[in-house]
């Protein structure tokens, strides 16, 4: 009956939506950011930790949202490891383009996010997939927090 949603709800999305691996605050983090979708009430908060070179070394999140949103956050948490701010912005843009248009730029890091490509057929769900990225961009723009700020 739901054959034609297979593109949207690929197995990895269902799995990650159900059992996300990174759905937790970080004990120690450098920055945090939030994303809100006022239309439906979804909310994501992201915590990031950077290494000495400024590249992302760890990401955790808390999300109130659907399978797409949680899976997207969880895949994001892995895809962004090792990226610095400019790389992240590029990746975020490429990701947004992919989920909006179905077309993906040649960005190696995008590979692991491909399961979300099916969202482009569901315009009202695009925001579910991009919300974690919005939270991440918020973290990039936020002034660095001291590690003591956690908790």
């Amino acid at each position: 009956m739901f054959e034609d949603v297979a593109d949207l709800y690929q197995q990895v999305i269902l799995d990650r939506g159900r059992h996300p691996r990174h759905a937790h605050r970080l004990d120690r983090f450098d920055a945090t950011g939030k994303g809100d979708n006022p239309m439906c009430g979804d909310r994501v908060q992201v915590w990031v930790k950077r290494d000495d070179a400024g590249a992302i070394s760890d990401v955790g999140f808390e999300a109130r949202g659907c399978a797409i949103c949680i899976a997207s956050a969880d895949l994001m948490a892995e895809a962004v490891i090792g990226h610095d701010a400019p790389g992240l912005r590029a990746l975020s843009d490429d990701f947004a383009q992919m989920v909006r248009s179905g077309q993906s730029a040649s960005n190696a890091a995008l590979e692991q996010l491909k399961p979300l490509g099916g969202v482009s057929d569901f315009p009202s769900r695009v925001k579910c997939a991009t919300l974690p990225w919005q939270a991440l961009m918020g973290a990039l723009d936020a002034p660095d927090e001291t590690e003591a700020a956690h908790g």
């Binding site: 009956m1 739901f2 034609d4 949603v5 949207l8 709800y9 269902l14 939506g17 159900r18 239309m39 439906c40 009430g41 979804d42 109130r64 949202g65 659907c66 399978a67 797409i68 949103c69 569901f122 769900r125 579910c128």
Partner: protein, 412 residues
């Protein structure tokens, strides 16, 4: 399972709504999102088309045939609206864009114009944002207190708390929904009004959902303000209604200024037209009033007894069928309710449920339904909501229930 469906000739009625024979994604449209906005019968579509093709001009100020006839049609919509809700006078009907504007009008004009610092506005936990945010803005701009009446776990208004709040605070205005768009609960408007009046407060009822399913009589309710929105009552978008007692409207300052709402204008000073015109600045939603009039004629011709009975049967059927689905929780168990059923599904977010239903051709709404504080009160983030109209069938509800079983499997 009861089968006391009303004697509406559903096949004929459904034929009045062209959109109901559409398919989406190759599947017949099963439209269970009428509480967000209802579909339009041919009578409404044709009334608007007819005006634009044959009889249209700006109103009130024209001395020519087209303007005179269009003015008549516009003012006739006011007459019909007054009759629909039992307003004592047609002059008490103010056309707005929607319920939201009607409430904002009251918050600005009555709230800022006639309420005093230290007085309170009393709303409830189950209000739509449209009946929360304007009062918050009034609170913040004008020093009014905002009180919130709790609801019971069943989703009824807590009438004991209601009376207590009125007794213990200086409530100037009560603003409460006449039917919840999430829980389906009808509040007892007459009882709310009597208690409010006993404590010297005025009362506004948000009838956005309530007018759709039952005959409403503002005089019998003894309300002071009543608002609703055309597009949920099978009318066009762009038109809503504020009813208020004439003496209140007379005393209230205007909300917006411009043409049609003035008595005379000089740079030094302007005077206001009489009600209702004082509150209708600028060219109004003429075509939309004509469409609303057609919608009112349409539902009145069917009759609210029939519509109400049919929808009651639909709700009973839906509650029975959905209760049978394991893992599905119905949100709201009030005794007296209209054609709205909200639910959550274990293991599946409402958005995901809605997307799968959509793939089967079923349109439901999912999210906070513009009632975030109510979600918080219920301890949930969102619900899926199926809502019914006069054109909804028992078969559509059965199809919803069957499809929900498959959705549950999908996310299992």
């Amino acid at each position: 399972m009861k089968d006391n469906f009303s004697p509406l000739d559903l096949l004929a009625l459904r034929a009045d709504f062209p959109i109901l024979s559409e398919t989406v994604r190759g599947k017949p449209l099963v439209f269970l999102d009428s509480a967000a906005s209802a579909q339009k019968p041919r009578a409404v579509i044709e009334a608007m088309r007819d005006a634009m093709e044959h009889q249209y001009a700006n109103i009130h100020r024209g001395l020519h045939w087209m303007s005179e006839r269009t003015t008549e049609a516009y003012e006739n919509a006011r007459d019909l609206t007054a009759i629909l809700i039992g307003a004592p006078s047609r002059d008490e009907i103010v056309f707005t864009r929607n319920s939201t504007e009607a409430i904002n009008l009251v918050a600005h004009s009555y709230g800022r114009g006639m309420m005093h610092r230290g007085q309170a506005v009393l709303i409830s936990e189950m209000e739509h944002h449209a009946n929360i945010v304007p009062w918050q803005m009034l609170r913040d701009a004008h020093g009014i207190e905002l009180l919130v009446c709790p609801i019971t776990d069943d989703g009824d208004l807590d009438y004991v708390a209601y009376e207590r709040l009125l007794a213990s605070h200086r409530v100037g205005l009560v603003a409460i929904t006449h039917m919840s768009n999430v829980l389906g609960t009808y509040t007892n408007g007459a009882r709310l009004a009597a208690i409010a009046h006993a404590h010297g407060a005025k009362i506004l009822l948000d009838g956005s959902q309530a007018v759709v399913h039952r005959a409403v009589d503002v005089a019998a309710l003894d309300a002071d303000f009543y608002v609703f929105t055309g597009h949920k009552l099978y009318g066009p978008t762009g038109i809503g209604v504020l009813w208020a007692r004439a003496e209140l409207l007379d005393a209230m300052p205007p909300f917006m200024g411009g043409g049609d709402m003035i008595g005379s204008v000089s740079f030094e000073r302007s005077t206001w037209a009489r009600i209702p015109h004082k509150f209708e600045a600028g060219t109004p939603a003429i075509l939309e009033a004509i469409g609303l009039a057609a919608a009112i004629r349409y539902v009145k011709a069917i009759g609210f007894d029939e519509i109400g009975a049919h929808e009651q049967a639909l709700v009973d059927h839906a509650l029975a069928r959905l209760s049978d689905i394991e893992g599905l929780t119905i949100i709201g168990r009030a005794q007296d309710r209209g054609g709205v059923v909200s639910f959550t599904m274990r293991g599946a977010h409402a958005h995901d449920v809605a997307t799968l239903l959509d793939r089967a051709g079923i349109a439901v709404r999912a999210g906070h339904h513009c009632a975030e504080p109510l979600m918080r009160r219920l301890g949930i983030d969102s619900t899926a909501r199926a809502s019914f109209a006069l054109y909804t069938t028992k078969e559509e509800i059965d199809f919803l229930a069957d499809t929900l079983l498959r959705v549950r499997e999908f996310f299992a």
